[in-house]
C-alpha cells in the first residue's frame, strides 16, 4: 500500500467575509486521477492556490510525501514535485514556444545557473523540450512567439509548461477552458496517457461533467469552501447533496 502523496489537514481560508475554504481535509493517493468540481466561486482555484503556494493559508497543514510544506515557497514545492497550471493563461508571452518549455526543463536538469555556455548546446535539454512539445502537439509551433499563438494553443502551452517540470503531483486548473473540441480531446488523451504511465498524479478542476465522469477515478465536490461529496464517479452521480447543489443541471442525470 502506497503512502498518500498529499495530505491536507483542516485547511481554511477566508477573504474578508467570504469563506473560500473551511476546514478541508483531503488525502490524495498516487496514481488516482482526481477531479475537483463545484459551482463558480466554490473555492476550487483557492484550494489549488494554497496547495501550490500562491496563497498563504489561514490555518491548517499541507503534507506532501510526508513533509510539511504549508509554509514553503513556491519554487521549493515545485522542486519537490508539486506543480500546477493556471485557469487564466500564464505563459512567457514574448519568448518562443520552445523557450517557454525550455525554462522549466533547464530547471529540472539543474542547468539554469549556467552562465557562459550557450543554451543551444544543452542537447539533453533540447531533446526533452521537443518531447514535451510533441506531447502537447505544439512541435510545429516551436519557433513561434507564444503571444502569437491561438488561444487554444496558448492553453496547450500552459499545460506543457506545467508538465515540463516532471511533477509527481500536478494540479490543472480548468485545462480545457477555451479550447476547441480537437484540442480538448488532445489534452484529455494526454492526461489519461500520462496518468496511466504513473509518473504523474493529476488533480483536475473541470466544469465539463462529461469530461469529469469519463476521465476521473475519483471526484471531489466543493461548495462554499466545504467538501460535500467525495467518491467514485458513480457515488457522486448518485449523491443527493451533490444533486441539490447542481439542481437543474442536466449533466447530473
Amino acid at each position: 500500500m502506497n503512502a498518500p502523496l498529499l495530505e491536507i489537514k483542516r485547511l481554511s481560508k477566508a477573504f474578508g467575509r467570504v469563506i473560500a475554504a473551511s476546514n478541508i481535509d483531503l488525502t490524495i493517493d498516487p496514481g488516482v486521477l482526481t477531479s475537483i468540481i463545484g459551482p463558480n466561486g466554490a473555492g476550487k482555484s483557492t484550494l489549488i492556490n494554497m496547495l501550490s503556494g500562491s496563497l498563504p493559508v489561514d490555518s491548517g497543514r499541507i503534507l506532501f510525501q510526508g513533509a510539511d510544506i504549508t509554509h514553503l515557497p513556491i519554487h521549493h514545492r515545485v522542486r519537490m514535485g508539486l506543480c500546477r497550471s493556471f485557469q487564466v493563461v500564464n505563459i512567457f508571452p514574448d519568448l518562443t514556444v520552445f523557450d517557454n518549455i525550455q525554462i522549466p526543463v533547464l530547471a529540472v536538469h539543474k542547468r539554469a545557473r549556467r552562465l557562459f555556455r550557450p543554451v543551444a548546446r544543452e542537447a539533453g535539454v533540447r531533446e526533452e523540450v521537443s518531447q514535451v512539445l510533441d506531447r502537447v502537439g505544439l512541435a510545429a509551433e516551436a519557433q513561434t512567439v507564444a503571444s502569437a499563438l491561438s488561444h487554444g494553443d496558448q492553453r496547450l502551452l500552459e499545460v506543457g509548461i506545467a508538465l515540463a517540470v516532471r511533477p509527481r503531483l500536478l494540479f490543472l486548473d480548468e485545462p480545457t477552458a477555451g479550447m476547441n473540441p480537437v484540442e480538448r480531446v488532445r489534452v484529455l488523451e494526454n492526461i489519461r496517457g500520462l496518468s496511466e504511465e504513473g509518473k504523474t498524479t493529476f488533480v483536475i478542476v473541470e466544469h465539463d461533467m462529461d469530461i469529469v465522469f469519463s476521465l476521473s477515478d475519483r471526484v471531489v465536490v466543493l461548495h462554499h469552501g466545504v467538501i460535500i461529496g467525495d467518491g467514485t464517479t458513480e457515488d457522486i452521480q448518485k449523491s443527493a447533496r451533490v444533486r441539490e447543489v447542481y439542481l437543474g443541471e442536466e449533466v447530473m442525470t
Binding site: P73, V78, D94, L106, A162
Partner: protein, 325 residues
C-alpha cells in the same frame, strides 16, 4: 552567409577601434575612451534593465565603488592599477550584493525607489566621510603606473597606451555579456522579465536570479568606475550622484534595451551628441534633452531596434530574447 557578414562587420569595427588608438589625436582617443567606459557601464546595466526587466536608479553607487576602490588602493597601497581595479570591482560587487539583497525582494516602482534611496545614501557617505573619500574634492592624484603582472609590465601612462587597455576591457565585457545573454541563465532572466510568477513554477527562485543579475550589472559598473577614475586621474563624488545613474538608462534606451549592441550604440550617440551640443550652447541640457526625447519617442526599440526592424519587415514575429543583435 549572414554569419560571414557578421564577422566582416565585427572585423571592420575592431580595425576602426584599433586605428583610433594608433592614429587618432589625443582628444579623439580620450573621447573614445569615454564611449568605451560608458559602454561597459551600460552593457552590464542593460542585463538588468532589458533582460531582467528591472529599473535601477542606483547604479552610480557601484560605479563610484569601483572608482573609489581603485583610488584608495592607488593612494594608500600600491599604484599598480591591476590591484586597484580588482579591489574596485570587488567593492562594487559586494556593494551590489548587499544593496541588491534588500532591493530584489520588491519589484517595479518599489525596487526602483529602493535603489534610488540606497544610491543617495552612498553618495552622502562619500560626501561626508572626508578623511577617507576626500569629500567634495574626491580622491585626486591617481596615477596611471604601469600594470605589472610579475613577468611583464605594461605601460599605460600615455593616453594612447591606456586606450588599448580600456579597449581590452571593453572587448572582454562585450564577450562576457554576449555569452551570458545566450546562456541558460540569460534565458531565465528573460523569463523573469516576461512573467516572474511563472518562473517560480519552473522551480526557480526569482529572488536569487534577480540578485545575480543585479550583482553582475553592479560589477560591470564597478569596472567602468575604476577605468573612469584612471582616465580622469581622480575619483569624483558626483560619479555616485543619482543623476549619473540615469546615464546607463538613457544610453540603453537610445540604443534599444531589447538589443545586445544597443547600449554601445547609445553610448556613442550620447557622448558625441553631448560633446557637439556643448560646443554651440550654454544650456546644452535643454537641447540634449530635446534630441533624446525625439530619439526615444520616435524610435521605439532604440536606434538598433529601429534599424533592425527596417531590415526584417517581412518576418512578422521575432522573439525578444532570441537574438544577440
Amino acid at each position: 552567409m549572414k554569419r560571414f557578414w557578421t564577422y566582416v562587420f565585427i572585423a571592420l569595427i575592431l580595425a576602426g577601434l584599433v586605428s583610433i588608438g594608433l592614429f587618432a589625436g589625443r582628444f579623439v582617443v580620450y573621447l573614445s575612451m569615454r564611449v568605451l567606459i560608458l559602454s561597459i557601464f551600460a552593457l552590464g546595466y542593460n542585463l538588468l534593465l532589458g533582460r531582467t526587466g528591472l529599473l535601477s536608479f542606483g547604479h552610480a553607487a557601484f560605479y563610484a565603488g569601483g572608482a573609489y576602490g581603485l583610488g584608495l588602493i592607488s593612494i594608500h597601497v600600491t599604484t599598480n592599477p591591476l590591484l586597484g581595479i580588482i579591489v574596485g570591482v570587488g567593492l562594487a560587487c559586494i556593494m551590489a550584493l548587499v544593496i541588491g539583497f534588500f532591493c530584489v525582494r520588491h519589484t517595479e516602482i518599489y525596487f526602483a525607489m529602493l535603489t534610488l534611496a540606497f544610491g543617495m545614501m552612498v553618495f552622502s557617505l562619500i560626501w561626508n566621510l572626508r578623511e577617507v573619500t576626500g569629500g567634495d574634492d574626491g580622491l585626486v592624484g591617481i596615477v596611471r603606473a604601469p600594470i605589472s603582472l610579475g613577468f611583464a609590465s605594461i605601460p599605460i601612462t600615455k593616453t594612447s597606451h591606456y586606450y588599448f587597455f580600456v579597449l581590452f576591457c571593453f572587448i572582454l565585457t562585450v564577450a562576457l555579456i554576449y555569452l551570458i545573454r545566450r546562456s541558460p541563465f540569460g534565458l531565465v532572466l528573460s523569463g523573469i522579465r516576461e512573467n516572474d510568477r511563472r518562473i517560480e513554477f519552473a522551480g526557480l527562485s526569482v529572488r536569487n536570479y534577480r540578485l545575480a543579475a543585479f550583482v553582475i550589472s553592479g560589477t560591470f559598473a564597478g569596472l567602468a568606475g575604476a577605468l573612469g577614475a584612471l582616465l580622469e586621474s581622480n575619483a569624483n563624488p558626483f560619479s555616485a550622484h543619482w543623476s549619473h545613474s540615469a546615464e546607463p538608462i538613457l544610453v540603453s534606451l537610445i540604443g534599444g534595451i531589447q538589443t545586445f549592441t544597443g547600449p554601445v550604440v547609445g553610448s556613442v550617440v550620447f557622448i558625441l551628441l553631448r560633446e557637439i551640443i556643448e560646443r554651440f550652447t550654454q544650456n546644452w541640457m535643454l537641447w540634449f534633452g530635446l534630441i533624446l526625447l525625439i530619439i526615444i519617442m520616435g524610435l521605439r526599440g532604440g536606434v538598433v531596434g529601429g534599424v533592425a526592424q527596417l531590415f526584417r519587415r517581412k518576418r512578422s514575429h521575432v522573439a525578444k530574447s532570441g537574438g544577440n543583435r
